[in-house]
Amino acid sequence: MSIETKTIRQIAALSRLHLEEDELEQYREDLSQILDWMGQLESVNTDGVDAFTGMGGSLLEHARDDSTAQTPSPDVLLSNAPERVDGFFTVPKILE
């Protein structure tokens, strides 16, 4: 199966991943080859088989007490931010 370049472009956009033209071509080839190989799953009979959704057990078993706890201070939470102003993360200007 050969994927079109425009599909890769669209997938890269969905992934918020900037790709140069030569990279688009490389990933197009890679993904085409890998998807070809994955195509073998078509032959597996999965009629009536429920999709795997987890390792069993109810999440409610692990419901924790509804109690208050100390959260880290804003300073701690912002300590790794590449750019910050006062007590905030910053992003490039969104509205003109």
Partner: protein, 491 residues
């Protein structure tokens, strides 16, 4: 090379308790070994000061007759674990400079038990790889060179963790295993690699790759040492709702008792075309060892085995594409120069992620996107259910399964970097276990004709690590693997 660095965790523990050595002496010997092993590139962030400081605290506790299960034991952890105040980057440029303000549950348990951090260990970027060549710190070199002098891979993605233990830089280490990333490096480096059941250990604070498959794992030089370490890191954690709230046995004492009447399954589908004869021979030999010790050998069938690999390479990238969406250049890590917010995301991720990570993000986005979801992702999850059902069926007849860990010994660095599929195919024997959430272990069994280690894998019932470890001990006892790589890396 200091004699102390040759000692197992078990022996170090005895010597420390009897005060034959101090924790500081033990830490210094291992810090020195790490310092001299730059050629292996196993340790990305050494923490010598912290190791000595922690050892000083251990000595105080030992002097007071206190001390935890790992008091004074120096070790390293894969760079996938968040360690408070120590850079944790998953060997990715996108997490450059990230210093976690919190500790992972599993490492927290280590420090509470008295272990000392020697450093963070090299791995494939975000644990995506099978050769430890894709990370921002470069390739790890296998301490084993066999009869040749080519530089070989230590396996992946926990290649640094395996190389460090094999080279006697530390008695034990932590890795993570999403599709074989602890067992395959263990097989390539002549070490023991234990992947616990999904849910046995908390994933809190482990940098996420594929959340339904990820699990902390152990590299050690003996089954006993891996059992000791598992006892420390296992247990329920309310911060990970998938961690199991069940009793943790005393794995070390459970090792006793032998394997008389144990039923060992030989899954016939693990014999694949093109597998070297030496691996097939070793497999038969190992079955013979277990039989001699009183086990019953039973041939079994896991009919969906060959479909596990393509299913894994759909599911894991799908989860990765979602997990890695958090790296946006805003909250932590790298941030590219950009004009708008969309450009910020796109450029940051383009500069921060390496080729293999980008490939998996694209694969994951593709199989989850409208129009392909049913054909790929949903189909893979149905196949996953069949793979898990195969195991359920055979574990009604047997207690453990015996199979090779890898279809070959360690290969040369660079050999498979241009052939993605060839690299993926090497995970054929390890991936099914992760899909089904089972525990498994690789035990070094012999050196092949080229002088390179080969591992045998045992697979257990979910949460029955005790039986698994007992079977592994039996293989270890019969194999008598005591080969040590020549320390060519140490000046």
């Amino acid at each position: 090379m200091s004699e102390i660095t040759q000692w197992s965790l078990h022996r170090l523990r005895e010597a420390l308790r009897k005060k034959e050595v101090s924790a500081v002496e033990v830490a210094r010997a291992h810090v020195d070994a790490v310092g001299k092993a730059g050629a292996l590139n196993a340790v990305t962030t050494p923490t010598p000061e912290r190791a000595i400081e922690m050892a000083e605290q251990s000595d105080k506790r030992l002097a007071g007759g206190e001390g935890g299960a790992l008091e004074g034991i120096p070790l390293g952890v894969k760079d996938m674990f968040c360690t408070e105040g120590v850079a944790s980057t998953a060997c990715s440029n996108i997490l450059e400079g990230f210093t976690p303000p919190y500790e992972s549950d599993v490492t927290e348990r280590l420090w509470q038990a008295g272990a000392c951090l020697l450093g963070k260990l090299n791995c494939d970027e975000f644990a995506m790889g099978s050769s430890t060549e894709t990370g921002s710190s470069g390739a790890v070199c296998n301490p084993w060179r066999g009869n040749g002098d080519a530089r070989l891979t230590a396996g992946g993605s926990s290649g640094g963790s395996a190389a460090a233990v094999a080279a006697r830089l530390m008695p034990v280490s932590l890795g993570t295993d999403t599709g074989g990333s602890v067992r395959q490096p263990a097989a390539f480096t002549g070490t023991v690699g234990l992947k616990p059941s999904y849910g046995r250990c908390s994933r809190y604070g482990i940098i996420s790759y594929a959340s339904s498959l990820d699990q902390a794992g152990i590299l050690a030089r003996s089954v006993t040492d891996s059992a000791i370490l598992l006892g420390t890191i296992a247990g329920h954690d309310s911060r990970d709702s998938t961690s199991a709230d069940i009793e943790v046995p005393d794995y070390e004492s459970e090792l006793k008792g032998g394997i008389s009447k144990m039923r060992v399954g030989i899954p016939k589908e693990y014999s694949v075309d093109g597998m070297p004869g030496e691996i097939d021979d070793l497999w038969k030999q190992a079955a013979g060892w277990l039989e001699e010790q009183g086990a019953e050998i039973i041939e079994v069938s896991l009919p969906h085995t060959r479909h596990a690999l393509p299913a894994y390479y759909i599911i894991a990238p799908a989860e990765a594409s979602s997990n890695l969406a958090r790296y946006d250049g805003i909250q932590y890590g790298k941030r590219a120069k950009a004009n708008g917010v969309d450009e910020l995301y796109g450029r940051t991720r383009a500069e921060g992620f390496g080729v293999e990570v980008k490939r998996r993000i694209l694969m994951g986005s593709y199989v989850l996107s409208a129009g392909y979801y049913d054909a790929y992702y949903l189909k893979a999850q149905r196949v996953r259910a069949l793979v898990a059902r195969d195991f359920d069926n055979v574990f009604e007849k047997v207690d453990v399964l015996l199979a090779p860990t890898t279809p070959s010994a360690a290969f040369a660095l660079g050999e498979k970097t241009d052939d993605v599929l060839a690299l993926y195919l090497g995970d054929i024997f390890t991936v099914p276990v992760n899909l089904a959430g089972l525990p498994a272990i690789s035990v070094p069994a012999k050196l092949n004709g080229e002088g390179l280690p080969l591992g045998m894998q045992l697979i257990g019932r979910r949460f029955d690590e005790a039986t698994l470890l007992r079977a592994a001990k039996a293989v270890e006892d019969s194999a008598g693997f005591d080969a040590v790589p020549q320390a060519w890396w140490s000046p």
